[in-house]
């Protein structure tokens, strides 16, 4: 399929972030003092479960960050190529059936008939008022009433079985990889994983993967024939909307802090390091910004942004590009309101660091300011940056939903959890109730935010020097100690 690549602003930033993470990993690998806290993160069971779930979401988000416009079919081959106004992503290609199979209006999850009664014309010409069959959902069933349950059970079971097979392959791969490292046999390694004796809690990770594979397999198998989470008012698949909403959540959660990070770092360190009037000025700026209630500042800024977008339609060739710029702007303005906290923390930490002996010594040796800052101060405040980036993620995802409800969030045409909740609010009043949109938004959002919270806690416990309690739970600690003792006993025997 010929296409034209569309590069959205947030796409660039998303891939910049990915490059940044890869560079950080490469840099960290060879430095033991940087690896140590990450090893503590890797030992935390809840943190690694959170990370596993997060990675699944990130994969969907990254797939959704490659955009293009498909070429329109035209008979006249000589004519200049025309491209659709609709911007698609690679995720849309994967979810092609979900995206294109539109029903007429609402239908319940896994339903075969529409949600409301309509006039249907029978083959013999008479009219009857009944629930019409769906165009796609369970269309292959001859008699839904008798076949439906059996068909669902069969598909679901097949899907789960497929998922479990994939999971077994993953598990074998993990065991084989660890076994290569330790020199033990795969089956021994497999047993160690389940006894929880590995440093990294692979047992818990594999269990999470099992749940994920089974649910995923079931959903894929069912989605081939039905609308797993029902359809919305215009008949679009709710599962598709929820999957598309993942990217919006991830973008808001990560880019917001990324966009404002340079400012917070520069101003926070400058205020703490130089003191004097620079400190006064920077403090004044962030106190002023801080004293404007966040929601109101965002509302005011987004309203103004809307006026600007409406006034300059020529700047945006497609609706997706317009929505994307609004998303980026929302990230920036959310960053402006959340940046002050990080800035204050950095200032405080720099004030403390400045008085330490080794920095005093650097001063005495005549090392220049920018060198002291980049060599001695910056590396020592990075843990604050890391902790605040991961801690803020879940709050920002939740904030997006509230802002979209208020009407100052993402563009209404953009799929997000906030717009889903916003639309679902009115559907709750219908009789019978349309609950599936809300349920879908709830499931996806809670999973994402919970995973992010668990991971963030593990990162904070590992990096924050003030946390004196061990990150590991007593049970996990006992397991690890047991494993160590068993190993040392074995070594003694040998």
């Amino acid at each position: 399929m010929p296409f034209q690549i569309v590069v959205l602003w947030t796409d660039i930033l998303v891939y910049l972030l990915v490059a940044l993470i890869i560079a950080t990993i490469a840099y960290t690998r060879s430095r033991e003092h940087l690896r140590a806290p990450w090893r503590r993160v890797a030992q935390s069971t809840s943190g690694m479960i959170g990370l596993t779930v997060l990675l699944a979401f990130v994969a969907a988000g990254l797939l959704d960050s490659l955009h293009f416009r498909p070429r329109l079919e035209s008979k006249d081959t000589k004519a200049k190529a025309a491209y659709a106004v609709e911007v698609l992503s690679t995720l849309d290609i994967v979810l092609e059936p979900l995206r294109t199979r539109r029903e007429k209006t609402y239908s319940a999850p896994l339903a075969t008939n529409l949600y409301a009664k309509e006039m249907i014309e029978r083959p013999d010409g008479t009219q009857v008022r009944d629930y019409p069959r769906l165009k796609y959902g369970g269309a292959r069933l001859a008699d839904p009433e008798s076949d439906w349950a059996a068909d669902i059970a069969r598909s679901a079971f097949g899907g789960i079985a497929g998922g479990v097979v994939i999971w077994l392959l993953c598990g074998a791969l993990v065991a084989a990889t660890i076994a290569r490292g330790s020199g033990a046999h795969i089956s021994q390694e497999w047993a160690r994983i389940w006894r929880g004796e590995t440093e990294v809690p692979w047992g818990a990770i594999l269990l999470t993967l099992l749940v994920f594979c089974a649910l995923g397999g079931m959903t894929v198998a069912l989605a081939a024939k039905y609308h797993v989470l029902g359809t919305d008012k215009v008949g679009q698949d709710v599962l598709y909307q929820a999957l598309k909403g993942i990217r919006t959540g991830l973008v808001i959660g990560t880019l917001t802090t990324l966009v404002m990070l340079p400012f917070a770092l520069a101003l926070g360190i400058a205020a703490g390091y130089f003191g004097g009037w620079a400190d006064d000025a920077i403090q004044y700026v962030y106190t002023t910004l801080n004293s404007i209630p966040g929601v109101l500042l965002i509302a005011a800024a987004v309203l103004m942004m809307q006026v600007y977008i409406d006034g300059h339609p020529e700047l945006f060739p497609t609706a997706a590009q317009r929505a994307d710029l609004r998303l980026l702007f929302l990230c920036i303005i959310l960053g402006v309101t959340s940046w002050t906290g990080l800035c204050r923390l950095l200032r405080g930490e720099t004030l403390k660091l400045k008085e330490l002996e080794y920095i005093q010594a650097a001063h005495a040796f005549g090392v220049r300011h920018h060198r002291i800052i980049s060599r001695h101060i910056l590396p020592n405040v990075m843990y604050i940056v890391l902790i605040s980036v991961v801690m803020e993620f879940s709050g920002l995802v939740l904030a997006e939903a509230v802002l979209s409800y208020v009407g100052v969030g993402v563009d209404p045409s953009m799929n997000s959890f906030g717009t889903m909740i916003n639309n679902a609010r009115l559907e709750m009043a219908r009789e019978p109730m349309v609950w599936w949109s809300l349920a879908a938004a709830f499931i996806f959002m809670v999973t994402l935010v919970l995973a992010a919270n668990l991971f963030a806690d593990a990162v904070r416990d590992a990096f924050d020097p003030r946390v004196r309690t061990r990150a590991l739970s007593p049970v996990r600690l006992a397991q690890l100690l047991h494993a160590r003792r068993a190993q040392s006993l074995k070594a003694e025997k040998a």
Binding site: S291, I292, L297, S394, A401, V406
Partner: protein, 325 residues
Amino acid sequence: MMAYIIRRLLYAVPILLGVNVVTFALFFLVNTPDDMARMQLGIKRVTPEAIASWKQERGYDKPLLYNADAAGAAKVTQTIFYEKSLRMFVFDFGRADDGRDIAREIRMRMGPSLAVAVPAFFVGLLIYITFALGFAFFRATYLDFWGVVICVAAMSISSMFYIIGGQYLIGKLWHLVPISGFSGGVDALRFIVLPAAIGVVGSFGASTRLYRTFFLEEISKDYVRTARAKGLSEVTVLFRHVLKNTMIPILTGVVVAIPFLFIGGLITESFFGIPGLGSYTIDAINSQDFGVVRSMVFIGSLLYIAGLLLTDISYTLVDPRVRLS
């Protein structure tokens, strides 16, 4: 003490001025009043006359910062900056798009906002501290572990789900209280219970967990060990020593929020149809009433500064080591 408060109040003036400049820049410099008029009037009816009359109705037809046509002091006063931004310092907010006086509207709507927010605030605080102290008392047991698990799960749920779920369950299924609305007098109680309860439940997870870490931090200090060593029971240690000292970090976060009770919960009020300041703001945002949004930004900053001042004063009450000077 008095001198300190007066000095702090004087510090507030440059900050409020800064807030004013920021909002002024946002509302009048980034987009001119012409842009706003065009947007509000819609694309079809935009004629230069319509824009001019729209601006005149709202007093946007003056120069932004400096009026060269006027004489004397009016050169500065006959401008948008003076009339729309500086006048806020004397609580003159002008009129909303529907013609009502904003200052009067704000006074009227404070009552319902407070009626919902104040009970939720105090009941919530009591519940969070109780549970946090309980978890700290049973620390490193299964009770504590599952308590934290529940807190983390609870804080992962968006507040909107609590509201929608609560309205559905209690209002629609069980018919215990009306789903939304408000009325004056004793009758108001029926309308307050649900939003207040949901407000408490909504921030249970985050607050309880935060206070629990405060308690645990305090428990690991030397004086607590001394108290135990001299034979005090764990209950006495917790209530007599730990609870009082933990009030300091708790107050830092809590007192700052007290003035915001006037504004109330933005989404709670709009979901429950409570005619408070929160729903007023949301309605203004939805109908793009710039005057109201600007006034609420000003009030919000004012309350924030009041909150900071209150925090400092409350420190002297709970922590005798702090002396304001």
